[in-house]
Amino acid sequence: MSLLEKPLIKGDKSPKDVTEDIAHLVEAKPHLKWLWMVLSAKSMLLFYMVVVGCIVGIGMGLMGVNHPVGWGTDIVTFVFWVGIGHAGTLISAVLYLFRQKWRTSIARSAEAMTVFAVMTAGIFPIIHTGRPWLAFWLFPYPNQRGPLWVNFRSPLLWDVFAISTYATVSIVFWYVGLVPDFATLRDRAKKDGRKIAHGVFGALSLGWRGATAHWRHYEMVYLILAALSTPLVLSVHSIVSFDFAVAQLPGWHTTIFPPYFVAGAIFSGFAMVVTLMTLIRIAVPKFKDYVTLDHMELMNKIIMTTGMLVGYAYASEFFIAWYSGSKYEGYAFINRAFGPYWWSYWTMITCNVVIPQLFWFKSLRRNIPVMFVISIFVNIGMWFERYVITVTSLHRDFLPANWGLFDMTFYDFGALIGSFGMFFTLFLMYIQFVPAISIAEVKPVLGTGKEGGH
């Protein structure tokens, strides 16, 4: 039975109920559970700031990077977070273009996740430069050094343009979606005579009123942004994969990288959406009416599909390494699976390929604790995927004289764990202060699955 035949929103709600439910989340005083969650996330954020402060103040020597592994966990964690962000764009833009109505109740949170994940990601390459105070050199601005321009032939610079464009367009897309909801909150504040809220939401809503003459432009721009974000999101992770694929290192220099990275990004991003949604459904029970088990099941199906795509990529890499006859390429892959970092490779395979197969069973796809655990495994697995790609290729390249090992230090772990503090602090703030489900987008789908609905 297709989902379209069932109501997307539970509880037979009227548009008024929807406004009440979602606006209430913003207007009500923070819940004690939320406060505890924010306090723990903020403690992790403070820890993160101390760790990053040490790395910046004392130097990159605190982290594990050294010859021959010059790209360490900064790059691994950067790719991990950028990948997380991609599911948000997939839900908000690609599913919008395919007219998937079920996206409406998760799109806002998924987009917020994108914005925060990209913000978290962006810090890592800047730390990795070693002298972050000179990071503005990455932009081609007229300068007094010649002017000496940036190297536009470098994939690392493509990355700067891709990530900054992606961050900008994602924030704008998110904000455009929020404008009508801020107008709703503004008018509610006016009705109740809450002056400060009226002022704040009035400014945020930019004076939106919802005239039909305005909606026609609004809907068109929303469609345009979706249509622009779709190739953008594919380009971003393709370009991230170019950071590796354009280099000549065995294990990196493969043409499969762009689609393989994009599939992996969507895979990990959907896992993070499932993690967040299961948590929100616990912290804010009202969400259960909007993000139903049907939504979760659909996301789990996408996780399983993209997980198998990623599994196919792993297999295909191995096959081509053998079939190409290149002994360096062949060795790189044997070394991945059976060399000193075998444990990271098999963690990756277990988490990304084996465990998601449980979603073949409908009962497990619709079981909240099970999907929560699986989504965590997928996130771990996807972090290890980037670890495997980055570290195992670098640590043994062409010349055995160049071989060496990489070890994570306290600061590598600290930056990784701390970055979750930053991400969760931002996300929890968003849950409390911004309407976490699109009020204006949910209302038109209320009729779905009802008698006489469309």
Partner: protein, 181 residues
């Protein structure tokens, strides 16, 4: 203007009928158009399917702006990479030509998207007359669950009593006289 009670205005700019159901606003807009009104608009909490045709607004022209901005971004990106890499300070990187177009495609692509997206959003706000400080709010529920139909006094068919009656006959919950729209 508050929803409770109608203040008296010397200058009348139109009439706003408030409906409670989605199908009512669609019907009302169609009937008002049939009756010969031309200068009217609807305010809805979400885009109502079919209302654009009923009110008679045309398809948005913003895609043209998107196209022009995207083309500008594309040309700018091409110029930027060419001028900096091949003209201003040419540097030989890996023996590639100074004007190595394939390597510049990602930059050009990203700038195309960036220009197109930002210009589309900017022009949307300009076209809607936003940002607007303290926009007139006739009924606070119009952004929540009610639907408003506004007829301007500039409409040649506008007549204080008749228009009010016409709107009330369409099943409006309330009809407001509006001084500013």
């Amino acid at each position: 203007m508050a929803s409770d009670g109608l203040p008296i205005f010397t200058k009348l700019d139109g009439m706003m009928a408030v409906f409670t159901e989605e199908h009512q606003i669609l019907e009302a807009a169609r009937k008002i158009k049939e009756q010969g009104y031309t200068v009217f608009d609807a305010i809805t909490p979400y885009p109502v399917h079919g209302l654009e045709e009923a009110v008679g607004v045309k398809r948005s022209w913003i895609p043209w702006v998107t196209f022009i901005a995207g083309a500008t971004g594309c040309i700018f990106g091409t110029w930027l990479t060419w001028w900096t890499s091949a003209v201003s300070w040419p540097i030989n990187v890996g023996g590639k030509p100074m004007w190595s177009l394939p390597a510049f495609v990602p930059i050009i692509f990203e700038l195309t998207i960036l220009f197109a997206a930002l210009a589309s959003v900017k022009i949307m706000f300009v076209a809607c007359g936003l940002p607007r400080v303290n926009p007139p709010v006739v009924d606070e529920d119009l952004t929540s669950h009610k639907f408003g139909l506004f007829i301007s006094s500039k409409d040649s068919k506008f007549n204080n009593e008749e228009t009010k009656k016409a709107l009330a006959d369409l099943g409006a919950e309330k009809v407001h006289e509006v001084s500013e729209y």
